[in-house]
Amino acid sequence: MILGIDMGGTHIDGAAIEKGVLLASVKHQVNRDDYFLSIWQCLEELIYQTGRRDITRIHLSTTICTNAIVEGQVSEVGLVLQTGPGLKWPFERMGDTVVYLSGSVDHRGKVVRDLDMEELRRARGRLLASQAGALSVVCKFSTRNPVFEQRIRDYFEDSYDDITMGHTLSGKLNFPRRVQTAYLNAAVSRTFRLFAGHMREALEREGIRAPVFVLKADGGTIDFTSALRKPVETILSGPAASFMGMHALSEADRSDRVLLDIGGTTTDLFFLVDGVPVFEPLGIEIDGRKTLVRAIFSQSVGIGGDSRVFFDNGKLQIGPRRLGFAVAFGGDAVTPTDALVYLNKMEGKYPGKSRRALEALASENDLSAGQLADLIVTRMCGRIREEIDRILQRLNASPVYTIEELLRDRMIRPRAVEVIGGPAKALAGYLEKALSMPVFCPAHHAIANAIGAALAKPTVEVHMIADTERKTVSIPELGIYQPIDRQYTQKRAEQFALSEVRKAGASLGLTEAQTEPEIVESSCFNMVQGYGGGMEKNIRVKAQIRPGLLYKLERDEV
């Protein structure tokens, strides 16, 4: 039995699932004074409802770190940066105390200039005198060669509990994002460690030995031990949980799809390509900080079931503000929900009041209530369509770097839409018309997030480089920097990447079949050392656990 728990801003959902069958579910308000208690109560209730204690895994999507960041309840962080030559970003605004060190490595990972130990000594003096309780060490091109980050970490190891090294967080190139990611990681380390401690104690007390996994923004999970090293991975997992839930509840196929989550104020849009989620190109943004934390691509539109409907100079407007509930549910302002109630597509608590409010707004604008209701619903679906088209245009224009890809011109062309949220069923018919695509409304959408958390599978993504001149193969994400010989080939590189991904999957409790290791990108560049020089190879492989679900929820049985 897998337990999935999703803690959102207001609600916490829980689901117990076994072999694709939903055994129990829970939905509560979040206790904002004690997040841990909220989670623990949810867990206890699932155990009580199922009457079982044979838990195989516990999957948690938590806002612990997200809230800490947004509310500013984080540790002060000292940033130790080796910026090398290049663009001068406002790094001093990225940490609480920032020190710069000279020395650099280049794009190949070759050391250009060494550290200055005297400078390092002075930096330590400044940091120790500051309030910084955690440290982040980030060097330009550190993913290519982490030697300076490691040496600086060693130098500070005795003075700090939480030291984050930039290269451990992502293999992607983007120095300013690496700095931001490392800052956040250090900033929430203590918060997450405390939470994890509470959780472990409580589980031990109850005699539950199930491993705990934490949901990430990319819809995957990581184990508690990894999360303690990379707590930043746990931020903003909410949209991922809802996406994974919809994915779990939707038709099983590998087509292109749009997923819509229609809430009260906003509608969230997600995309599946060949059955795999579309990710943010670089990483998620939180609190004005752009990171390298991989995340499922999602876009919010300021239009939902409770959006305020009004006329501005004779023009119908919907949202982006929400004034409260729909009139049909005790509010004061007309909303799309009221239009749907009027059209007999959904039931309201106060249908009479809702009808009168709609009629009043209609007559003020020389329309019949029926006309207005139609107009609202059509306009709402039209807005969603416009947004989908806009996003598709952008996604389809993503940069490509090979002639093969440019000529193939792989366009995302959604074949169907999955919708969840309050007005989902009522809107389905209208959406179908507006989008010219079949629209499906999965069941159990009220606890979709918990189901998503429960069924999410661990993800690992690796960026590997093998350089036969430097005689090194590196996988920053796994901390691998190993020697290779000059005869190393692209094929060997791919096999190595796959085997490392497989190993990582196994250590996260996946079977070989569940891991589905795959090569995402692979290229091999001849390096010619001037004219008549020897030929060396620069091999680049990106591999991953195929993102997705442990398994789909069985539709017929739920």
Binding site: K88, Y401, V528
Partner: protein, 437 residues
Amino acid sequence: MKAANRLGLILFPAFDWAISPTHPEREERLLYTQDQLLEEGIEDIEGVEFFNPGIASDRDINRVHFCYPGAESLVTESHRIAAGGVMRAFDAVLSGETDKSFALVRPPGHHAQRVVYGDRGFCIVNIEAVGLEYARQKYGDMRVAIVDTDCHHGDGTEDIYWNDPDTLYISFHQDGRTLYPGTGPVEDLGGPGAYGYNVNIPLPPHTGDAGFLYVLENVVMPILDEYKPALIINSAGQDNHYTDPLTNMNFSAQGYAALNERLNPDIAVLEGGYSIQGALPYVNTGIVLAMAGLDYSGVCEPDYHLGKWTQPEQVTRQVQQIARHVIALWQSREELSARVIAGLETVTRRRRVYYDTAGIMEYQVQEFNVCHACPGISTVRSKNDRGASMIGVTIPRNACHACREEGYRRFEVMKGQGAKKIYLQDRSQDEYFVSSS
């Protein structure tokens, strides 16, 4: 971080294409440039946008070149995409999507001339010219200056715009007596319709930052101020760099960035540059930042030490002398032009063109009609040592009625003259014809 100028980047490294596995023009060429740009966080600068290249059609290529036996067989996808990248760069700026654009594409194009039998200097299609002529048909004619900062003389671009007064071509290059392709003396000033609008600035080996910036300030900027182009294009070859394996100059990334800031081009197009680890990442980053109006002072090559690449005293004197010569010619271009074409109905130019990459020798005669109402039609008769022969007639964009008629008449007449292919390039009506015998 926000760019002062909105900049469109067409970064297309063509990671799956090479002339041959060890050729300088191979897959690896822009690998480290891309690494450097990504590591600097270029993707996160507000106002810097990335665009994919388009693909140039046969028509886009025939607008500029006489391809033998034809564009469809001679021009591969890689060349069409490089040219298509430049077309996208023009679209970005002329449609107002961005203020400026930089096409970081490969292979380059500035050695591709009007007639194309194959590859020379790694070029088959003149990507700037294809982009520019596409833009002129789409957005209307405009006065344009192409400033070529590649270390090699851009003999292809010079040839294509030789007789076009609305396209000022200025080339900085290492003196042709010391480097491929050997052309580009100060005295080559253009055809009768555009005499003085081809400006060659051959520089001595070891010219450094000071020399380039001196020429820019004292020759190029004054000429541009007078010419007042609607658009400035930088044909940006990065091989004046002190680490370039094919050349002998002392230019640095800081120098390139400063040049770009001062020149302030609307569009830059990557040309040559084969120091792919030591120069390209830094020079390209410097140019991107300069174009975006951002601080580039932190961009520096790993082995750059101030003083080491300063140009010798003697070079400084030579550069100043050349600059004086060039500017004097520019200032007297009208008198010179009048003298050169006085009493002539046509001006003839004989050339031998060697295709170093393809190993072909071409012999050609170009004939320019002198017209006082328009730049006049031109005819090129060419044959090569592989037995090919062709004649091409070009009607300029702004041809007068009489010249247009004459162009069509000549196309018919040429059909009987035994050449294997006869081409008509009517840029005035954007129509292109070919006839085989």
